[in-house]
């Protein structure tokens, strides 16, 4: 089982090494990793066993820390940050490239907030990197509000849980971004729209269902290549498209195809390592999408662990066309 404690130096040391640490926030315990380290972020998805990749909320200790991984805060959003942070407000900001794709699900924006919990704030303020931290529960389990819950659910997969007592039971954070130059509420949560409007005036609301708010991952359309994306057995697909004389690129799990120019293929993990494949997935799709080809051919990965989430993303790309 994991060790429970209040030693933020120990938590810092583990996070610096790329390990996961459970941290308390005002709503639930989060499963935290260095948000700038793609290997550490891949571990989050591995441990949570989620069958899909969703953007993760990045936690910081101060507004100043945000400039390290975003290209800036639009003025109305800065006003909201100053008014409501720390607290149940998440802002969607334009990302810099040092934020791994796994944090943003390949989107060009990143979700950021300052949590309102003294222990976690203290931790964030001694770290020189932000923390990606979805709720510390495996897929299908209820969100943990006590350190003991985390230990029960994930104690055999992480080393340390920062014990910040019982989280106040609250709503998820309200998510706000900019759309077409307008402040837009993307998910309703603990911060009321009327409070937001007191600071920035009238806002737009763009949510799919107020009674069932979507997760941060589903704020916007998922990332998908613009080119047609076809899934299947690569050998067969390559033969078929060769015969049709259609230009194609190949996204393969581990195999290199000697008869195809190297520039037209992207191998997710030559050693068949699902964590490496997850880390490379968005980059691979993006690189191939920029090529002068008519179609991207791809194959599914083993349907287990991170493979399930990778396949979900590949299927979404294929279903888009």
């Amino acid at each position: 089982m994991a060790e429970l404690g209040t030693d933020i130096e120990k938590a810092k040391a583990l996070l610096q090494k790329g390990e996961l640490v459970a941290i308390p926030t005002e709503t639930v315990y989060g499963l935290a990793a260095n948000a700038l380290n793609p290997d550490a972020v891949a571990k989050i998805f591995e441990v949570k066993q989620r069958p899909s990749f969703d953007p993760l909320i990045v936690h910081v200790g101060s507004i100043e820390q945000i400039s390290r991984f975003t290209t800036g805060i639009p003025s109305p959003l800065r006003k909201l940050a100053e008014a409501f942070w720390p607290g149940p407000l998440t802002l969607i900001l334009p990302r810099k490239s040092n934020i791994p794709d796994l944090v943003t699900s390949g989107l060009e924006t990143v979700a950021v907030r300052i949590p309102d919990h003294s222990m976690t704030k203290a931790l964030l303020n001694i770290l020189d990197f932000p923390l990606a931290a979805p709720s510390a529960n495996p897929f299908g389990y209820i969100s943990p509000t006590k350190a003991g819950h985390v230990n029960d659910q994930l104690g055999n997969k992480i080393d340390y849980i920062l014990d910040g007592g019982i989280c106040e039971v609250g709503l998820e954070s309200t998510i706000v971004g900019m759309e077409d130059g307008q402040v837009t509420v993307l998910r309703l949560g603990g911060l009321d729209i009327s409070e937001i409007e007191k600071v920035v005036g009238r806002v737009s609301v763009s949510i799919h269902s107020s009674s069932n708010p979507r997760s941060p991952g589903m704020l916007k359309n998922h990332y998908a290549p613009t080119k047609p994306f076809v899934l299947g057995k690569l050998d067969d697909l390559i033969n078929r498209y060769d015969q049709k004389e259609i230009d194609f690129a190949v996204l393969s799990y581990d195999k290199k195809y000697p008869n195809i120019p190297e520039s037209r293929q992207f191998i997710l993990s030559p050693s068949r390592d699902l964590a490496e494949a997850a880390k490379n997935l968005f980059e691979g799709m993006r690189i191939l999408d920029k090529l002068d080809v008519s179609v991207i051919l791809a194959e599914l990965l083993p349907e287990e662990g991170l493979g399930t989430a990778i396949n979900d993303r590949l299927r979404r790309a294929a279903a888009d066309h």
Partner: protein, 231 residues
């Protein structure tokens, strides 16, 4: 007086078979710990009782003590390697430990000893699936289905192997067989829906199956429905 002692002696010293039967009863009433005590007493009486080792292994397996179970099955095999059961059981313990290669070796022995046991094909299929040997896994699932087609889990795992083999069309057929036999398998509806949409652009059918998966509690379907099944 002599008769009384004889009766007491008999009642105080149950036979090997009585102890074994009592152990089986305990196991059937889901008291594996108690059953192990009985099997140990059988083994104390007769160190060569292969059935007792095998039964003890099953009780340990029920308690998820897979390493100890493997030890017990191995003892059983050493005494009598003519029965498929301890090989099959040890294979199952290896399968639980995700020691797929070891599991397959044992299933191969079990299969050679009794080729008519369909469970051996199914479980070996699962081990092959774990090793990403998809074509071989499909073959074993087909062997299991030859004996009885009405096995939704076999169709379901066959579909997984076919998906692993990047054969979505065949997988869809297996998934349809799965949900036809078990209309509560939410994950099968989900996989069927996403495969229909991603492999064949069958949005209408895919959305219907995703909605079915959602209604059965597979929450992950919702994001797909939101993204692809808008009115």
């Amino acid at each position: 007086m002599i008769w009384l002692c004889a009766i007491v002696l008999v009642s105080c010293a149950p036979t090997e078979q009585e102890l074994f039967d009592e152990g089986i009863k305990m196991m059937e009433s889901e008291q594996p710990e108690k059953s192990i005590e009985f099997f140990d007493r059988v083994i104390e009486k007769n160190e060569e009782n292969t059935a007792a080792y095998n039964a003890k292994g099953v009780a340990l397996f029920q308690q998820k003590k897979y390493d100890e179970a493997i030890e017990a099955f191995t003892s059983s095999i050493k005494l009598d390697s003519a029965s498929y059961k301890p090989f099959f059981n040890r294979g199952n313990a290896y399968l639980e430990k995700k020691a797929f290669k070891e599991a397959i070796v044992d299933y191969n022995y079990a299969n050679a000893l009794d080729p008519n046991q369909t469970d051996i094909y199914y479980n070996r299929g699962l081990a092959l699936l774990g090793l990403e040997k998809y074509e071989d896994a499909v073959f074993d699932f087909d062997m299991a289905l030859q004996q009885n087609r009405d096995q939704p889990l076999v169709h379901f795992n066959k579909a997984k192997a076919q998906l692993g083999n990047n054969n979505p069309l065949a997988a869809m057929e297996s998934l349809i067989n799965t949900v036809n036999l078990d209309n509560r398998n939410a994950y099968a509806y989900y996989l069927l829906g996403v495969t229909q949409m991603s492999a064949l652009s069958q949005k209408e059918e895919g959305c219907a199956n995703l909605k079915m998966a959602l209604s059965l509690g597979y929450a992950e379907s919702k994001t797909w429905i939101d993204d692809f099944c808008g009115e």
